[in-house]
């Protein structure tokens, strides 16, 4: 049933070799618009990691124990989206209770995450690749960390390119996309270490 991949291998693969952003193009919208400074990229990265870890577990349980037994897998898009929205809402409430400073940092990012394609994408990848529960959680967590790493790295580069003399038409999104392309090339360098699809 589920592919025979050791969770540790899967963790490294999801962070580096098949980085969700640089190899699978997921979560680009908020990636480009938020990566202007370091602080907010860190906040969003943390929030994405948290939500991804929780939703991949919840969606796995719902898929295995509700959708498949009832034979309504075709409804998975709607169900997954609702689960993601609910998880985001609950997380927001919990964070507000336990830590005000963390809430101040993450508060504005959490609602944005519901429409971040990375979250839904990971749940769909888990469904297609038939991961088991441990693999799903590890994969969700690793992908979140990979996304976090990528956005922080990009934010650091962008603070420099903002001041660089870039051709007028290339300013803004143009140079950002080329930078992401170069980062993606660097991450391809890792793919010699492991090969997990």
């Amino acid at each position: 049933m589920s592919p025979n991949i050791h969770p540790v291998v899967l963790l490294f693969a999801s962070i580096f070799t098949s980085n969700i952003l640089l190899a699978n193009f997921l979560g680009m919208c908020s990636f480009i618009s938020i990566s202007k400074d370091n602080k907010s990229s860190n906040g969003l990265g943390l929030a994405v990691t948290l939500v991804l870890t929780v939703t991949s577990a919840v969606n796995w349980v719902i898929l295995e124990y509700v959708l498949i037994p009832l034979d309504i897998v075709y409804l998975r898009y709607i169900i997954f989206i609702i689960v993601i929205a609910a998880v985001v809402q609950v997380l927001e409430m919990i964070i507000e209770r336990i830590s005000t400073p963390l809430y101040m940092n993450l508060g504005i990012f959490l609602p944005l995450i519901t429409v971040n394609c990375a979250i839904l994408g990971i749940s769909l990848f888990i469904e297609i690749r038939r991961y088991n529960l441990v693999q799903s959680v590890v994969y969700g967590f690793g992908s979140g960390v990979g996304w976090w790493l990528a956005i922080v790295a990009l934010a650091a580069i962008r603070t420099r390119t903002d001041k660089a003399p870039v051709p007028a038409g290339m300013k803004g999104p143009g140079i950002t996309l080329v930078t992401i392309g170069l980062m993606a090339m660097a991450f391809i360098g890792f793919s010699g270490m492991l090969s997990v699809q």
């Binding site: 193009f25 075709y74 989206i81 394609c117 839904l120 051709p167 038409g169 300013k171 999104p173 992401i180």
Partner: protein
């Protein structure tokens, strides 16, 4: 007629001056991934055009019945409904392509263009013109991605729509099949488009 003038304006905005991809930088997530192949890109973007136009139509039709507070979730459900239709049609008639597209069909739901158009246009405009707006912004999205896919498939495989067009001695550029090339090409595309706009003096 009022709508006559605005249909042309909307067309022009969505195709050029306010193109979803190279001006608004929206919705590149799900579809960039499939741009190394023209057939897949074509089918994927047709799906997006279908979902955008009908979502806009539906949202515009029922906008007065939706309480403002829950409109986001209602919009998401409408989008998901149309995406499920696309997914089921693909599974039934084009199973090969459905498999190749994998999770990316489902990811049309989180494509920001659709939600963006529904929120920015359909929420405050009559149904027919909203449908037109959805259709044209979908098409504006489509041609950019087809252009990228054209170069990636041509240089990466030496083919167009699966047919060999490059001479036999052509060495495929492997980088074109891999992820970085999509970013580079989109970056260059945005550069070209913006440079043309700057020259015209109409840049925003």
């Amino acid at each position: 007629m009022k709508s006559q003038a605005s249909t042309v304006t909307i067309l022009k905005e969505n195709f050029w001056t306010n193109n979803p991809i190279f001006i608004q930088i929206l919705g590149i997530c799900s579809t960039l991934a499939v741009t190394n192949n023209l057939v897949n890109t074509g089918i994927m973007t047709v799906g997006v055009v279908f979902v955008t136009s009908f979502t806009n139509l539906t949202v515009s039709l029922i906008k007065s019945f939706i309480p403002r507070k829950v409109r986001m979730i209602v919009q998401t459900l409408i989008i998901a409904f149309y995406v499920i239709i696309v997914d089921l049609v693909l599974r039934a008639y084009l199973p090969e392509i459905s498999k190749a597209l994998g999770p990316y069909v489902g990811l049309i739901i989180t494509n920001c263009i659709i939600m963006g158009r529904a929120e920015a246009f359909a929420q405050s405009n009559p149904p027919l013109i909203s449908f037109w707006d959805g259709l044209t912004s979908g098409l504006g999205y489509m041609y950019v991605l087809l252009a990228i896919a054209f170069f990636r498939e041509l240089l990466g495989f030496g083919t167009l729509f699966g047919y060999q067009v490059m001479p036999d001695g052509f060495v495929p550029w492997t980088i074109m099949i891999m992820a970085p090339s999509a970013f580079f090409l989109l970056g260059l595309f945005i550069w070209t488009a913006k440079a043309v706009m700057l020259r015209k003096g109409g840049a925003r």
